[in-house]
Amino acid sequence: MTRIDGRLVARCTAVLAGLALCATAHAAQKELVIGVSDALTGPGAVYGLPQSNAVQMAVDDTNAKGGIKVGQDVYKLRVVAYDDKANPTEATNSVRKLIDRDGAQYLLGFCCSGPTSAVASFIGRENVTMLVGNAAERAITAQGIPNLFRTRPPADFTGSAAGAFVAKRGVKTIAVIGSLDVSFYSQYLEAFEREFTKKGGKILAKETFGLKDRDMTPQLTKVRALNPEALLVLGYVEPCAFVYRQAVELGMKMPRYGFTSGSEEQFLKVATSEQMEGVWDLRPTELTVSALGERANAYVAEYTKRFGIPPSPSSPYAYDQFYVLKHAIEKAGSVDPKKVQDAIRSGGIPPEAIMRYLPVGSAMFDENGQAYTTNGAFQWQKGKWVYVSDLPSDPVAYSKYLRSLRK
């Protein structure tokens, strides 16, 4: 009969026990896919790529701290990001791929309104949670889609505050140059005009340019002949930077107001700091350290270190999305999207949030799934956007208005 070595038995037992422990630990640690659909190339990439980076950064930080603990399980997170090129069909394809193939139940990103609206048209039928970032088209949250939330306020929420601000500064006549065929700029202008004319102001001209236009001198020449007291420029960063630059080149010295949300680096690619001097940006109080404080400072430093360039002002909308989601999952004690949606709806502002949100009641999101940030007046001073003051904003009244649009 073969003699069994006692030490061998002990070693085998130890190995088996070790394997069993590993298996238990492995079973408790799971993976959660975070899907990102955003414009990573093309004209929308100035907003989409920084958003995607911001989500990746937040996820990396969370993973480095051990992941998200849900009951007995710990979830490590994996980001799968696809380029939607700011195109509705591409966005539909990338979101379908995220849901159907990659198994993503949480979708973040969404910087541009057209593709976001396309996804919003079917997302209500899916068992997923969608958090929208920079896309500002009002209709996205006006429909009351139960599994859709947005961190950025709609453009007209800011537009009316901007109209009141410009009128208060004594401007009586203004000319508008902008991407007026892009809906959220036209919605901004509509709200701006309502407040501005209510206070006695008059819009002398509305000139439009395309997203890819770079020569704005025809519009500027036409506007100059009308002799307005100020200029209002609405659009994506690059074309607007050309407007500011060419206005100076044409000798136009009137105050220039705008709504672009571009960073210093983005503007300085097109215009010099001298050409930008004195320009106002009237927008949600986005990433300006002087307006948002130390947490924003740390965010800018970390982002710059990791990606080699400073973040765009609107990128924290996506960073904040992730922390909204993280706290909602922890609060729900589940990764079931429906329970997580309930937790988001009743949850407050996450402590890691970079933007300054205005809660509606005690919650961050209103009944439409919409969050509101403060609006601010920023002015270009010596190469930097400087926060000057808040713009008057009423999220409760706007929330009621948004609810009234639902069919």
Binding site: L40, T41, Y82, D83, A86, N87, P88, T89, T92, N93, S94, R96, K97, I99, D100, R101, S113, G114, S117, A118, A120, S121, F122, E137, A139, Q143, D181, V182, S183, F184, S186, Q187
Partner: protein, 332 residues
């Protein structure tokens, strides 16, 4: 290829197409297949003008937009049944093609291409700016799918992707069958003659413009049908997907698959839809890789994939037949 073999291959392809939704484990691939079928309808229309008569139209995206918006507006704003809207939309696009095609076909070659490019730009600009009607850049949400049909006690629902797949498959098959009918008719022969030498056609007393106009209007009709199918599948419309990029992709689908062939537009449509999606692994370089692949394909396969593959098969068959032929006895 013998007739029996052709029928056999056709039946096998038809069976595979019918069984596809049950064979796919990831619904995302069904989503892409639906888009590819819609693209097949568009590319078959483009093939009538570009492949058969040799005229390059850069307005396919614009006519697709007309079909999409016509169907969406009739059903969403007009309150018409979706089926009626979808059925009428191609006729709206065809009517516009008739109106703009009549003066446009007076010019030839590159000038015709430039005129149609202008139409596409005008259509997109109008859709963008006529906000009160089209929703402009903000678009039109909540475009419904067609209602379920009951045929012989069997309910066919189109709310899900599987039902919609069969609808677009039917449309793609009908567009291909329509192309085959034209190709093998007198009209098709005249169109091909126009492609080869329009002056000779005119000299023979054939009114070439009538045939070209027919091809242009039929192309507009199919683009309109593709647009209606697209609108009710995606559920949201704005002018972005109907720009000149879309028209160029329609040209590309025909060129890549095989201009003037029946199978070419099908192959081209599937490539144009699926290739950029599969290249997502190349991340931000995917469009560079896509562009490079297209350039290489155009250089090395100028007549398209289908003619090249057909030639390859014919060569193989000839060699096989030669190898199987009994050799003469070498002994004296």
């Amino acid at each position: 290829m013998s007739r029996a073999l052709r029928v056999g291959i056709g039946a096998a392809v038809a069976l595979a197409a019918l069984a596809l939704p049950h064979a796919l484990t990831v619904p995302y691939f069904l989503h892409l297949t639906i888009l590819a079928c819609i693209w097949t309808v568009l590319a078959q229309g483009q093939n009538l003008v570009q492949g058969f008569s040799g005229y390059v139209s850069i307005a396919a995206g614009g006519f697709m937009a007309i079909g999409a918006y016509a169907s969406a507006l009739l059903s969403v704003k007009g309150g018409w049944p979706v089926w009626t809207s979808m059925a009428l939309a191609p006729f709206v696009a065809a009517a516009l093609a008739l109106v703009v095609g009549y003066p446009s076909l007076r010019v030839k070659g590159h000038y015709f291409a430039i005129v149609t490019l202008a139409y596409n730009l005008v259509i997109v600009t109008v859709l963008n700016n006529y906000e009160s009607f089209t929703g402009g850049e903000a678009g039109m949400p909540n475009i419904q799918r067609p209602a379920a049909l009951v045929l012989g006690g069997l309910q066919l629902s189109f709310a899900g992707r599987e039902g919609y797949y069969y609808l677009v498959l039917l449309a793609a098959a009908a567009a291909t069958a329509g192309g085959a009918l034209v190709l093998h008719s007198r009209v098709g022969r005249v169109l091909i003659a126009i492609r080869q030498n329009e002056m000779v056609v005119d000299a023979l007393g054939v009114a070439a413009w009538r045939y070209k106009l027919f091809a242009f209007v039929a192309s507009g009709f199919l683009a309109g049908l593709a647009g209606a199918l697209y609108a009710h599948f995606i559920g949201f419309l704005n002018p972005e997907p109907f720009g000149t990029d879309q028209s160029m992709n329609a040209i590309l689908a025909v060129t890549l698959g095989g201009s003037g062939t029946l199978l070419g537009p099908i192959v081209g449509a599937f490539l144009v839809v699926t290739l950029p999606e599969y290249l997502r692994v190349a991340d931000t370089y995917r469009l560079v890789v896509y562009g490079l692949l297209l350039v290489l394909a155009t250089i090395f396969m100028p007549r398209g994939i289908v003619p090249m593959v057909s030639r390859g098969f014919r060569g193989m068959a000839t060699r096989l037949a030669a190898a199987l032929r009994p050799r003469p006895d070498p002994t004296p």
